[in-house]
């Protein structure tokens, strides 16, 4: 068992029992950004420069989905040898009005989802390097 777990990237998601994606919200116009935007608001009619961190909705609906039957090239790091295909989903978050792409939870295949399904955010191991498990956000189907 790996001794430690770290997020594969800092500041993109929480790792508690009810994980959230972390974005930023422009304090001037209210536009939400994921991954986090800072510095200057990307709404072309806004000159906002201040952002506050915001936790995105934990659930959303599937906009579309696919899988990776071939191992992606580096910098992708395969968790297993031989490679095991994984599935991906683009998920629409209704409050934030944005679509976020992520892998589907371990064991989920394209046969398990369809456009419009409800999914929730989970955090799972992505790969292990030198005994450290690197975690990533994923989408998991909410059972009906």
């Amino acid at each position: 068992m790996p001794a430690t777990q770290v997020p594969a990237i800092a500041g993109w998601f929480t790792t508690d029992d009810q994980p959230h994606l972390l974005g930023t919200r422009c304090t001037t116009c209210g536009t939400v950004f994921f991954p986090r935007a800072e510095g200057f608001c990307r709404n072309p009619s806004c000159r906002g420069r201040e952002f506050e961190e915001t936790a995105l909705a934990r659930t959303g609906t599937v906009w579309s989905y696919t899988d990776a039957q071939y191992q992606p090239p580096p910098p992708y790091v395969a968790a297993t040898d031989p490679y095991v295909p994984f599935a991906l989903a683009a998920v629409e978050l209704s409050d934030e009005h944005l679509v976020v792409l992520g892998q589907l939870a371990d064991g989920t295949t394209v046969d398990d989802v369809k456009v419009g399904d409800t999914v929730e955010l989970v955090v799972e191991p992505l790969y292990e390097i030198d005994g450290v498990e690197h975690l990533i956000y994923r989408w998991k189907k909410v059972s009906a």
């Binding site: 209210g30 536009t31 990307r42 899988d67 990776a68 039957q69 090239p73 790091v77 792409l101 456009v115």
Partner: protein
């Protein structure tokens, strides 16, 4: 006052895997275009290079590299990077310089040698580069994005993998006699269905390969063309190199997410719809006037998306247009008579120019073995190209004769 410029010459190096340097391909295409135009290299006043950026890769100096290889002639130079749209952006650099009256005759060149397999990002640890991060964090390859659009067509419009296969079968047939195409072989639905799944629902034969290739265009003022004896040349009527409008609400390569529409409503047109619209708007020509089109079929399903984004049919009706034979040679508006990326494979900075070459040959009636024909038996008079690349790049070129 016209905003038209003349396509006086076009040329290509055949697509394939030839094991040469990109400069060699570019030179062959350039010489072919110069010969086609009847213009001497020494007379070229401006060279626009379409380039690609890949690690350890010499596309960084595309414009001047071509000038040096053809022999320094003092021409002004530019290099354009716009991912898959680089060629069109280079063409636009030449067009605007001609229209500004700063030159009469320009040579536009795009050439590439592409590695085999998945296009991968720049190497190294690049935690601030979304193109690197998407591979590292979620393993999202280019075909994964194509597949998201394909699956959505299936779930929203009832498209089937058999529909996608028909696009491949059509394009394989179109490219059969194209001397510049890499793959010149008919494909059956059974062969497509038997090819390995890459990114569900897209199989290997639904996805375009990567290739070496080069294309070049001699672009001139109408006056210059006339002086060269071309009184009725193919004309560039409009070029679109638009970026998206905020908020872009469709997930795009290489991004992790769309813009948020929480504070600002989505624009009237999606980015994909806006690309060709800019050409129609600039030229005053309508989608109904288009006789022939070359679109960026990175996947079979994407070609169907383009029918709608070009306004050839309404959203959700592309499968009908395909199945009615409208987009096949002999139909109302043949799409990808060259064979498209299905027969070429993608040579990134050359591809948008290759589309312009093909439409030029189509409008001149010189597309032997793959010629689109109007109901009156003549060559088409209006053609359009469309493509889209990473990072909010898209392009469309509208040509008439």
């Amino acid at each position: 006052m016209t905003n038209d410029v003349a396509v006086l010459g076009v040329g290509m190096h055949p697509w394939g895997k030839w094991g040469k340097n990109f400069v060699e391909y570019g030179i062959e295409a350039a010489l072919a275009a110069l010969d086609d135009a009847g213009v001497d290299w020494q007379d070229i006043q401006f060279v626009a290079g379409g380039e690609t950026v890949r690690n350890g890769y010499p596309g960084y100096v595309a414009g001047s590299t071509f000038v040096q290889a053809l022999g320094w002639n003092g021409a002004r130079v530019s290099s354009s990077y716009a991912a898959c749209a680089s060629g069109a952006t280079a063409l636009e650099a030449a067009r605007t310089r001609i229209l500004a009256g700063l030159c009469d005759v320009a040579l536009v060149i795009g050439a590439d040698t592409t590695p085999k397999g998945f296009l991968a990002p720049v190497a190294g640890e690049r935690w601030d580069d979304p193109d690197w991060l998407r591979f590292r964090l979620i393993g999202a390859t280019n075909p994964a994005y194509f597949a998201l659009y394909a699956r959505r067509r299936m779930d929203l419009y009832g498209a089937t993998q058999a529909d996608f296969a028909k696009v491949k079968i059509k394009n394989a047939k179109h490219g059969l006699h194209n001397p510049y195409a890499r793959y010149r072989k008919e494909v059956t639905e059974a062969e497509i269905a038997a090819s390995p799944m890459v990114a569900d629902p897209l199989r290997l034969l639904d996805i375009c390969a990567t290739s070496d290739g080069a294309a070049a265009v001699v672009l001139t003022s109408l006056d210059y063309a006339k002086r060269k004896g071309a009184s009725s040349p193919v004309r560039v009527r409009a070029i679109s190199t638009v970026t998206p409008q905020f908020p872009n609400t469709v997930i795009e390569m290489p991004n992790f997410a769309t813009d948020s529409a929480a504070a600002v409503a989505p624009p009237e047109r999606t980015f994909m719809d806006s690309i060709a619209h800019a050409c129609y708007d600039e030229s005053g020509i309508s989608p109904e006037d288009v006789n022939v089109a070359e679109v960026y079929d990175l996947s079979t399903a994407l070609e169907l998306d383009w029918y709608e984004h070009l306004g050839l049919c309404k959203a959700g009706e592309a499968e009908k247009l395909l199945n009615d034979g409208d987009t096949t040679l002999g139909g109302r508006v043949p799409v990808n008579p060259s064979g498209g990326l299905a027969c070429f494979g993608e040579a990134v900075p050359a591809q948008a120019l290759a589309q312009v070459c093909e439409i030029t040959w189509q409008l001149r009636g010189q597309a032997t073995g793959r010629q689109a024909v109007l109901p009156n038996g003549g060559a088409p008079t209006v053609g359009i190209t469309a493509n889209k690349g990473l990072f909010g790049h898209g392009s469309s070129v509208l040509l008439t004769k």
